[in-house]
């Protein structure tokens, strides 16, 4: 289980790792994704588990099968993933941030100032 955490279902983690790669552009649209056996060998997991992860992304329409060649990143997959992540951003990141900030007595202005200080500029790149 190299690189995977214990706990969450492994096939979900495999799917998330691939989705991450598509979102960062590491796997471009139209590019071939690693095969079930390649993923199984890399993560040291059962091939059936890797196949389940792949089929999760196929069901979501993020990957498409090309008969006899393998699985490829579907057109529009990256934009869709980024859109979904943007929607979940508040719940996944802002909410815990605000919860902890209020626990520590950091008010909204201070929080915004801290974010500015962290070197955040638009598009998330550091100066």
């Amino acid at each position: 289980m190299a690189g995977l955490e214990e706990g969450a279902p492994l096939f979900v983690q495999v799917a998330e790792r691939l989705a991450d790669e598509i979102a960062d552009g590491g796997l471009a649209e139209g590019e071939r994704v690693p095969s079930t056996n390649e993923l199984a060998a890399f993560y040291r997991i059962n091939p059936a588990t890797a196949a389940k992860g792949i089929s999760m992304l196929t069901d979501d329409g993020l990957l498409e099968k090309r008969r006899g060649i393998g699985m490829f990143v579907a057109a529009g997959a990256r934009a869709r993933l980024l859109g979904e992540r943007r929607k979940r951003f508040a719940e996944r990141y802002v909410e815990p941030l605000v919860t902890e900030a209020s626990r520590l007595g950091i008010d909204a202005d201070e929080l915004v100032a801290l974010i500015r200080e962290s070197g955040y500029v638009q598009r998330g790149t550091r100066p």
Binding site: T36, A40, P47
Partner: protein
Amino acid sequence: MTPAISVTGLSRRYRGQLALDDVSFDIEPGSITGLLGRNGAGKTTLLRIVAGHEFPSAGSVTVLGTSPVKDDALLHRMVFVREDQLYPENGTVGGFQVRHALRAASWFYPHWDAKLAEALTADFNLPIRRKVRRLSRGMRSALGIVIGLASRAEVTLFDEPYAGLDPVARQLFYDRLLADYAVHPRTVLLSTHLIDEAAGLLERIVVIDSGRVVLDAAADEVRGSATSVSGPAIAVAEFAAGRTVWDRRRIGSRESAVVAGVLDDTDRARARALRLHLEPLTLQQAVIHVARMPGTDARERTSA
């Protein structure tokens, strides 16, 4: 689909002691199943009966649709690698060597892959001209693993095959097993108590305790079946109310509880609001909790 291995109502009694008590399970062809349990739980007895090395006191076993004690042809389609494998000592001038053991296996198993055997022998640094009885415990295990993998038998039984092997060699075993299984799928039943090490390989697990099956489920199902919840004791109590709690520990005002059942997004949001820390159990931790519960049917608990 006919199960590759089917065990029904199996019991084995030794001098009045029940080593296996009404064990039943099916294993689908083309899967890797972990047979888990503590030492003395009955894993070896079960595998010996499946392999046809021993008779059950009651119940039945079929492998590939036939009886392992009645069908000699089956022996060529099934390989059993034991913890302390014994090899014939005599009949060979100058003593039975590693290469003789490999050659004997190549005659016995119709799908034997000599190239794979050679590669594995090199991977494990097995001296092929060394007499088998002069091998160290680890080398003896390695030889068993080479035979178990290179035979490519339809049904492959490993009974804690890693005695004396260091972590590097064990990782080699898991890697080579996965690689060859991916290309040549077969039915693998692996008994182990090193659960975390083998966790990624296993699709299903069968846990036995005191001769009884206490859990038979998909590994991923078990992994998500319980969560460790920790934080202020009052908050933990509030969160755990109405849920099955497997384990509870307290230090000062903080508490940690293992809560059974799959948590959904609402549960997670609630835990966040209560400032609780959630941590999924590893397969090994989950199995320990399940196996520790005496007299309860764990199957019902995990499917609930």
